[in-house]
Symmetry: C2
Subunit: 347 residues, 2 copies
Amino acid sequence: MVTIYDIAAQAGVSAMTVSRVINNTGKISDKTRAKVKRIMEQLGYVPNQTARSLVLHQTRILFLLITDINNPFYTTLARGAEDAANKNGFRLLFGNSDENLDKEDEYITTILMTRADGVLIAPAGDPSLPHLETLRRHKVPFVLLDREVPGIECDVVLGDSKEGGRRLAQHLAARGHRRIALINGSPSVSSARLRLQGYQEAMKLSDLPGEEGYVYETSFGPQSDLSGIEAWLDGMSLLPTAIVAGNNVLAVEVIRVLRKRGISVPDEVSLVCFDDLGPYSEVDPFLTVFAQQAYQFGYMGMQMLIERIQDREGSGPWKKIVLPGELIIRRSVANLPDGNSEDRSAD
Amino acid sequence: MVTIYDIAAQAGVSAMTVSRVINNTGKISDKTRAKVKRIMEQLGYVPNQTARSLVLHQTRILFLLITDINNPFYTTLARGAEDAANKNGFRLLFGNSDENLDKEDEYITTILMTRADGVLIAPAGDPSLPHLETLRRHKVPFVLLDREVPGIECDVVLGDSKEGGRRLAQHLAARGHRRIALINGSPSVSSARLRLQGYQEAMKLSDLPGEEGYVYETSFGPQSDLSGIEAWLDGMSLLPTAIVAGNNVLAVEVIRVLRKRGISVPDEVSLVCFDDLGPYSEVDPFLTVFAQQAYQFGYMGMQMLIERIQDREGSGPWKKIVLPGELIIRRSVANLPDGNSEDRSAD
DNA sequence: CGCTAAAATGTTATCGGTAACATCAACTTA
DNA sequence: TAAGTTGATGTTACCGATAACATTTTAGCG
């Protein structure tokens, strides 16, 4: 491995001079600079970031931890974060926690060990608190994405989950649905709680009681198998005419189960969900969704993070950005005869 | 920041003793071990990987560089790589090159700087050669995924692109299509070249000439805008009755353009492509695809990489794994009247 | 009890960089 | 021309860990 000492020896200068050339600091004569550069070129020198960050206490590397690398919401978010990071001269690494606290914990350790300068994190849920406290204790700046965690003050970028839950349920009610069920992420995830609240408010507003067992709380991540959803649907005495899914992954899984049971969407059961399916909505504009600005989540979150890192003064007040979503009406909702086909929720 | 010296001072031992406790090496009395561990706990000590890898010359961190983080083929592949890495006690970081040589170059630098122990890489194309040579020169083990690069010998996991191209075109021919077009990735990407070859062979076999301008070569990544595809379609004197897309991203973009022009798939134009759309094929099993074993690409590639890393002996011969794909017939292909509705390519 | 082997722990040098301070020549300026 | 600047470069110590070797303590045994 080529080091600055090799370069220095070849060039007949000291290591410090080489370091100065690399970092463009101090005064170096043009002749020396040219010579050192030429030799670095020849020897294919690459600075050892490991050594450098050991002394500098910074890496110019940022980290994005998402909970589901297969979910287009998060990959689109990742592209936003990436663009913002690169624009500011930072490198970005990704990790995937799978909505799993242990994997998240592993990644927190990796982040601390690699001494990333900052972290953008979609926490697995409220129990992520100790992980965030660890980051805080180690003075690693972080910004939360998509989910808040009670007990910690920090910058955060959120969607309007409550509003979304309300809009989705209202949309169904406006189309005449009265038996509206909800499949949601874990109540330990703040966005899931708000989506539930929004759904409940809309139900109350439309004077819909919500049958026993209509709300099913599981995980936002892909289920290891579909039996939980199957049991939920099979366990209802009366099948709902419409289902709200807490995110796109759950919606797809509901579709799979319904298909398996020979139940057609939207003819027999209507379906709506949070988050679009990325470009795949183009293949077949089918699912009616409350689409969130995934790219902006990443882009703005990254900007906030970088501001924190560069803010020498220490911190201004914590910022909270709430990005509005948009109801996109497609074909997955049927009009029921007794319904008002005009959708009040869309105006 | 807490260091082993802080621990050592608190525990009244030397730093070396602390190091031994951390790494479970050497002989340590139970009493000392317990005491040191307790103090590490109390102080929230995290080993400084930076310092450690400076002296150890290894990080236990591996890197996966993919070309499109929005493509479910690559995210599924990533999950496979992740599982294999974790199973072997390695940590995995991701990077996204966007089919872009400059971004790839940036990541190569990051990889060298962070001293990753090995790299799994889907190269942007043949011009990635210098990047791979750089890795080789720095003795960083790597395994190529999905694409070969002429001029470098190494381990590689491939799909059967030629076979896939043949199968897709044959399938269309068997359904009576004669005017079959191909939109493909850049010819500087090995898989694109093979897909083209497969397509051409099938055309020849079915005695189809292939009209002027029927083959369009662009990038596998998402187009910055759709005007290239639009110009291609608009430029044809006679619209094809079927299109083979070199991957799922291109297929989706073709659909978008066709939709914009009011051309229906499959009623007016049939469409098939490489790679499935992940779980979103479940929403609407529409696109007929040559599906590749994305997860296996990552899993097996990672296994090969780890074997290389752990192989003290130095290297056995380079390995090349070719994973077969599967034609999944769905609804995006129309039967033309003069066609044989029975699909010979599917037996 | 004294000697030796094994166990437990400590010391020193090093990994590859950079900060802080030191040096030395060339050039001003009074 | 002596003193003060400035520019160009070198020296030394250190970032936080570990390897290799050194030393001390404990245990075992005749």
